[in-house]
Amino acid sequence: MVNERIDVKNLNLWFGENHILKNISFSIKKQNITAIIGPSGCGKTTLLRCFNRMHDLNEKVNIKGEIILDGENILSKKTDVFQLRMKVGMVFQKPNPFPKSILENILFGLKIKGIKNKEYMMQIVEEALKKAWLWDEVKDRLNKNALELSGGQQQRLCIARALATNPEVILFDEPTSALDPQSTLKIEELLLQLKKYVTVIIVTHNIGQAGRVSDFTAFLYLGELIEYGETKKMFTTPQNKKTEEYLSGRFG
């Protein structure tokens, strides 16, 4: 491993006149799960979307600072965002498979990447679906429309779709908030497996979920990083009073 960390340095983000992220600096350890928690509107999703430059789609957003991934500042103008997004995948709040077949969904990223070898593609499809624990459920109906799957299956398909391009990092934006408890549990177990292959950064409003799955936790409040550290430590002996109040459910 070349670099074992993803470094966020002095990250500031404005949405028009609003200062959303204020001078955020921390280091994410690779091959781990890092949770970003905080009350609604604290900027946690905004922070997550910096890692794959999703803010590029919005002209009103202005970002200053650095995020160093593999020795390169990904916020730099020189960065090829399309390459970056293949390296840093994303799974969204609401499962969003394309209204195409299960197979087409997984192949999408590979076709974008320009891979043409059919045999190799099918091999990746199988691998990705196996890693996302979906293979056994769908192997006989890969040509069925992805929207016929259940919500939990759709979300695992989205995970498989993100895995197919072989990313280093996968960003999860409240991936279970639209799912039932059982599907949520399955995704949480899956996340613990995924860190074997990828670095996971997950935004969640569910404190329990952060506690169950993450190795490190970042607590954001009003756009500021209040506390960052090992989840176990933070959840038992929070250093900051705000963190303690949030974790004990006194606001949020």
């Binding site: 394309f98 209204p99 990223g109």
Partner: protein, 283 residues
């Protein structure tokens, strides 16, 4: 008691208005069918007119309407769809965009007879296409363009953003996202705009009045540079310029029935395709 009476009256007002609307459509179709059916037979739809349109069929008019509609659709659809894509996905919000939108809005509100004069000046005279299928088809294309642009815009706008985000997050460029994700999802609704346009292009009389239509011809057009008979104009001609009403008025109703059936048929076909494409697409 009073409130119940009010709601009773209110609901029955709504009910009778609905019944009235339906009965208009019902009577319209029944009258066309009853009067038109008398003259319809195999000869009527396969033969050219005879003896100054008092006998024979309307085959050249059917063919003419088909050519005109087809030409206008294949010209207007690509231009309209591309314009719609540009307006939604690529244009920047400024005064120029507002101007374009106002222009398109105005275009859809212009009476069709004005399009006829425009077609005459531009296609027939300036481009020297003469009174021909080409001139008429292009005039109809200009007329249906705003409808296709607007429905394309609507169709693209209603594609949920989370599909776009999913594509971008996988490293897709904007063009790839539009071609591989947005357009396939929007296509059934774009098709709806084209369906409506087919009906309008086939049925409008005014735009082809000076640009394509001819009163009476026994032969079929050999190329798009020739003038042609067309169903709506044929009805108009029979009702206004005929001298033997007794035999010509029934033919007009027969022609109307054929036109109606043709439009229904084309719509039915397009709705069938849309249904096929929409199956299993719930989000």
């Amino acid at each position: 008691m009073k409130r119940r009476l009010f709601s009773f009256i209110g609901i029955n007002f709504l009910r009778s208005s609905t019944l009235l609307s339906i009965s208009f459509i019902f009577f319209l179709i029944s009258i066309i069918i009853l009067k038109g059916f008398q003259v319809i037979n195999w000869e009527f739809i396969t033969q050219p007119p005879k003896e100054f349109m008092t006998k024979g069929g309307i085959f050249p008019a059917i063919v003419g309407t088909f050519y005109l509609t087809f030409l206008s659709i294949i010209v207007a659809s690509p231009i309209g769809i591309l314009t719609g894509i540009f307006l939604v996905e690529y244009s920047r919000k400024n005064w120029f965009l507002s101007l374009i939108k106002i222009t398109i809005g105005t275009l859809s509100g212009i009476p069709s007879i004005i399009f006829a004069l425009f077609g005459l000046a531009i296609f027939v005279v300036l481009f020297r296409f003469g009174v021909s299928i080409l001139s008429g088809g292009l005039t109809l294309a200009v007329m249906i363009l705003p409808t296709i642009i607007k429905t394309t815009e609507e169709a693209i706008r209603t594609v949920p953003d989370n599909f776009r985000e999913a594509a971008y997050a996988l490293g897709a460029k904007k063009s790839e996202t539009i071609i591989k994700v947005v357009l396939p999802v929007a296509l059934p609704n774009i098709l709806t705009g084209i369906i409506v346009s087919v009906g309008r292009a086939a049925g409008e009389t005014a735009p082809i009045l000076f640009t394509a239509a001819t009163f009476y011809t026994r032969k079929l057009p050999k190329s798009i540079f020739e003038e042609t008979m067309a169903l709506p104009y044929h009805i108009y001609a029979l009702m206004t310029e005929g001298t033997q009403a007794k035999s010509q008025v029934p033919i007009a109703y027969g022609t109307a029935l054929v036109l109606l059936a043709l439009v229904f048929l084309m719509n039915g076909f397009a709705i069938f395709i849309r249904y096929k494409m929409r199956r299993g697409k719930k989000w």
